[in-house]
Amino acid sequence: MANEQQIQTELVQKFPFLAEKFVIKRERRIFCETAYDHFLEVFGHAVEKMDFKIFATVTGLDEGENLSFLYHLSRLDGTLLNIKTSVSKTNPVLKTVTGWFPGSALYERELVDMFGAKVEGLPDGFRYPLPDSFPKDQHPLRKDWKPEMLPEGAGSIMEEK
């Protein structure tokens, strides 16, 4: 548990507001939460300074009135740092992390399709994972969405020319 403690002291010392929500669940599993405006600083610090070089993925969660996102960062020695941040459902705007990890474009596009998040700075590309003819305003992984809300023929055309 030593190196997890060391990560905690360094992060909390740099970002005091992380202190109250900082949890070390078990070895190699660290959870912390931050408001969205500080999120990019924490994320950038962890990636550049604290050697969290591997970006596993980002998980979207529908928590009632706001959407929260869990960014999973890992180090080569296996420690997994999960930074949670949330954005209001009314205007769910996020900034992309493709600057550090070009590979995260797909994960963020999944957030756009599944939760209706708007990610600024995301390079344009195809819809993932829903087909083009899937109605753009419906987001399947939102709690209020029901499969019956999908009109009969929707989603049958994969690539609208």
Partner: protein, 401 residues
């Protein structure tokens, strides 16, 4: 092939070894590929939403069907996350059985890949040989778990079947048979000059690119990324066994082949150690139907790379959220990079080198458009190497060793 054409190779929702329902569009820009982007979603079935409407036990059944080849990976991952939330301590013997089946699945997946790679470069004899040997491990899995593919070994709190002493001996005997078959393939992979020439230098991916693009598993380890969940974030019974993590610095398809064949040998030794140290005792613990509030992330070294499951419980018997990130989704970003400034002849083997399992990830790669079917692309690659480099495996009917 007119010169100024662009290459578009959508692979469609099926394993490269199988016939694709879609045709492909390839326009050659001379020989070199300059830019790749990824189009996803052909095989999307909406599993994550379905998980939220089913109980944990039913979810195990559903998650096992995400992909036919790495089914045990997904269930073990999911069950580990749920056990972590509920704070269940799985008995040692249950962990050992889980790990043995995991390694057996890695063996049959890597043998399948070796055959597919041989098929992609026209070496069909290798396909026939490896798939014939794969039947040995499939029979063993059928004997142990009752089914060749979706084994259904896992439940929350342990495993559902035990291994009898005779079955353990049977496992050891099969490992010996498979080991000397794999030595035979290692000899081919490292000695055969044409194979080396056909695979090395192809699909180059530097270490930094591998890290930045999130390459995992053999694809990452072949580019020098020394990262293996079994050793770095040990789960199940991996902390009780010693094994080498196969890493090499070739950064190309040949490196990935060596890593996978090396991993086959490691799997045999892991299984032998596990069978030798197999403890007695119960294989499972009674698990509550309702999982308390909480969240957990569990990671697993699937045959294709790091597979990550995030589960969030809300106190009822249905999960609040289940997120599955399959290894091929991570590797596909790196394929886009490793295809660049490669020539068209190497596209099939480079894409097959990450061992894409499309049902996990329903992927497609688009490289800018014309029409070229996958088989014609494969045939083109084989003939190109025959004419340009004088390597042709199709003449090989019996392996000379």
């Amino acid at each position: 092939m007119s010169t100024d054409m662009k290459v578009m190779v959508p692979i469609g929702p099926q394993h490269p070894a199988l016939k694709e329902p879609e045709s492909f569009k390839v326009m050659l820009n001379g020989e070199k590929i300059f830019e790749v982007d990824v189009r996803l979603g052909y095989n999307h079935r909406g599993i994550e939403k379905a998980c939220e409407q089913r109980s944990y036990i039913q979810d195990i059944y559903l998650i096992e069907r995400i992909c036919g080849i790495c089914s045990h990976s997904h269930t073990t991952n999911f069950v580990q996350a749920v056990e972590e939330i509920a704070g269940i301590q799985v008995p040692k013997r249950g962990l050992y059985i889980r790990t043995i089946v995991a390694e057996l699945e890695r063996i049959h997946s890597h043998l399948l890949w070796l055959g597919v790679a041989g098929h992609e470069i026209g070496f069909d004899t290798l396909l026939m040989y490896t798939w014939r040997d794969r039947e040995v491990v499939m029979d063993l899995l059928a004997a142990l778990s009752g089914n060749r593919v979706n084994y259904g070994m896992n439940t929350i709190g342990g495993t559902r079947r035990d291994f009898t002493p005779e079955q353990l001996q049977e496992i050891l005997r099969t490992m010996d048979v498979l080991e000397d078959r794999t030595k035979y393939y290692i000899e081919i992979a490292s000695v055969e000059p044409t194979l080396i020439q056909r695979l090395s230098g192809v699909g180059f991916l530097s270490k930094e690119d591998a890290m930045r693009l999130g390459a995992v598993g053999p694809t990452g380890r072949a580019s020098g990324v020394n990262y293996d969940i079994r050793r770095d974030d040990p789960y199940a019974a991996y902390s009780d066994v010693q094994f080498k993590v196969m890493v090499n610095e070739n950064c190309d398809v040949y490196g990935r082949t060596l890593v996978r064949v090396g991993e086959l040998m490691e799997s045999y030794s892991i299984i032998r150690q596990l069978v030798k140290q197999m403890p007695d005792g119960p294989i499972a613990v009674k698990a509550p139907r309702r999982i308390p509030v909480g969240e957990a992330i569990s990671r697993y070294e699937a045959p294709r790379g790091e597979d990550l499951h995030y589960v969030k419980g809300n106190g009822t018997d249905k999960p609040e959220r289940v997120k599955v990130r399959a290894p091929t989704l991570a590797n596909l970003q790196s394929v886009a990079k490793s295809l660049e400034n490669n020539n068209l002849a190497d596209v099939p083997i480079t894409i097959a080198a990450i061992d894409p399992c499309f049902s996990c990830t329903d992927r497609m790669i688009q490289v800018d458009d014309a029409v070229f079917t996958w088989e014609r692309l494969r045939a083109y690659g084989i003939d190109w190497y025959k004419s340009q480099r004088g390597i042709d495996f199709r003449e090989v009917k019996k392996l000379p060793w």
